[in-house]
């Protein structure tokens, strides 16, 4: 009996470890920054993002202030780190779309997904896979413009966790 228990625990542990290992990472993030017009300002964001632990590379479209961030393997960066980076440079995120391998997105009850200790709450229906990757847009405060956030507070008034602004909870919709 004890043996079986131990085996069971062992298998459970192994399962846990492997599942932690396959804990998904965000493979790409597309950030549109707001309130800047100069390439020196963009460069401040660019350098800040590049200096972030776990970031592999950043490509920038200076005309739209879009920063595409690629991550190192096993990086566990969550959107909060990117938000802090942009704000350190003196600006704000106007839009954030993250790309996550679809296999890592397992919906638990109540339309939530756990990822590296953060909770992602789905605001629209189902996940739509596209080429094994899913694009998710973050709708929380600090990831959309202030004006947009004010409107969204009304739009998502039925989602109890939305107005709480818990920094490790992200409210997302899939993007096609």
């Amino acid at each position: 009996m004890k043996n079986i228990n131990l085996k069971f625990i062992g298998i459970a542990c192994l399962f846990l470890i492997t599942s932690i290992k396959s804990y998904s990472q965000i493979s790409k993030a597309e950030i549109i920054a707001t309130g800047l017009t100069c390439s020196m300002c963009s460069n401040a964001i660019n350098k800040q993002l590049k200096a972030t632990v776990g970031v592999d590379s950043v490509s920038t479209d200076l005309n739209t202030n879009t920063f595409t961030v690629y991550f190192k393997k096993e990086s566990k960066i969550m959107p909060r780190v990117l938000k802090e980076g942009v704000e350190k440079a003196g600006f704000f995120i106007g839009s954030l779309v993250i790309t996550v391998p679809t296999e890592n997105l397992k919906i638990e009850g109540d339309k939530t997904i756990s990822l590296n200790g953060s909770t992602f709450v789905l605001l629209n229906e189902e996940l739509k896979n596209s080429n094994g990757e899913t694009k998710l847009k973050v709708y929380d405060k600090g990831y959309v413009t202030q004006k947009e956030h004010k409107k969204l507070l009304k739009t998502f008034s039925k989602t109890a966790s939305y107005p709480l602004d818990n920094e490790d909870d992200y409210h997302i919709k899939t993007v096609i």
């Binding site: 549109i32 707001t34 309130g35 017009t37 100069c38 390439s39 020196m40 963009s42 460069n43 401040a44 660019n46 350098k47 800040q48 200096a51 920038t60 200076l62 005309n63 704000e87 350190k88 440079a89 003196g90 600006f91 704000f92 106007g94 413009t145 202030q146 004006k147």
Partner: protein, 269 residues
């Protein structure tokens, strides 16, 4: 002069994109957190009460403590005693307390304070703690970006003390003043960005005024400038300052500025 001003203002307002890295004023936005900026400011102004030129050298170091707070220290060197002498230094801090940013606009406000000391002789009624007087200045600045045109305005209170150890502030002069500035900026080049190495060219127009609180004497200056941003990291400003109006005694109101600046990003976390 008036025609030139109208033309210049129009030129700025119909612009496609704007800048707020002004030459003689500071916008409400701060430098990036953890960045270090080094600037060598130089100015050469024509003396009004004697022959010759007044040359000032102003090395500055700026550091972004966090996203809302920055500090700056400046040193004042001048040729007033016919050779280059360090006359004083200044400490400046600015705190951004309001930011409402949208995709194509932002409005920001900040409070700032500066303390300077200087040991030079006091030779004018104008109060200028950037290189002339010992004293402090405190105020607020608001910067708005509307349809890609940046407009910044500030109001501040400035008070002068004795220039220790040798020069007392003249009791016949007002030792405090109200300052006000309005700045406009526009990006001229490039029309479309291709990379970080592209040199940006900005033009700016700034108005700087002061009223002495005890006697109401005032001045108003205009400062047009051109700015080059090289490699998205270095900055060269060339500006000309011209007095538009003055009812106070000023020793050298008109002249040129040449600033060289280099920014190191992410010096500290």
């Amino acid at each position: 002069m008036r025609k030139f001003l109208i033309a210049f203002s129009f030129f700025l307002i119909q612009g496609i994109s704007a800048q707020e890295l002004f030459v003689v004023t500071d916008p409400a936005s701060n430098v990036p957190a953890g960045s270090l900026g080094i600037r060598l400011g130089q100015s050469i102004f024509k003396e009004q009460m004697k022959s010759g030129y007044s040359y000032h050298l102003m090395p500055e170091v700026t550091w972004g403590i966090n996203k809302n707070l920055m500090v700056r220290t400046s040193m004042f060197v001048s040729n007033r005693s016919n050779q280059l002498v360090t006359e004083g230094a200044s400490f400046y801090t600015k705190y951004r307390f309001l930011s409402t940013d949208d995709l194509h606009s932002h409005f920001r406000m900040a409070a700032f304070g500066r303390y300077s000391f200087n040991n030079a002789d006091i030779h004018q009624e104008q109060i200028e703690i950037m290189g002339h007087n010992t004293g402090f200045e405190t105020g607020i600045v608001a910067t708005q970006l509307i349809k890609k045109v940046a407009i910044s305005a500030s109001v501040s209170f400035e008070k002068a003390f004795d220039n220790k150890p040798d020069y007392r502030f003249p009791t016949t002069q007002s030792d405090n003043a109200t300052n006000y500035t309005v700045s406009l900026g526009r990006l001229m080049y490039p029309k479309k960005y291709t990379n970080f190495k592209q040199t940006n060219i900005n033009t700016m127009l700034e108005f700087v005024g002061q009223t002495l609180n005890e006697n109401g004497k005032s001045y108003l200056d205009i400062v047009p400038s051109i700015q080059f941003i090289v490699n998205s990291q270095a900055r060269i400003d060339v500006a000309y300052r011209q007095e538009l109006y003055s009812s106070m005694l000023r020793s050298a109101p008109n002249g040129f500025y040449l600033n060289l600046e280099y920014n190191f990003f992410n010096v500290s976390k």
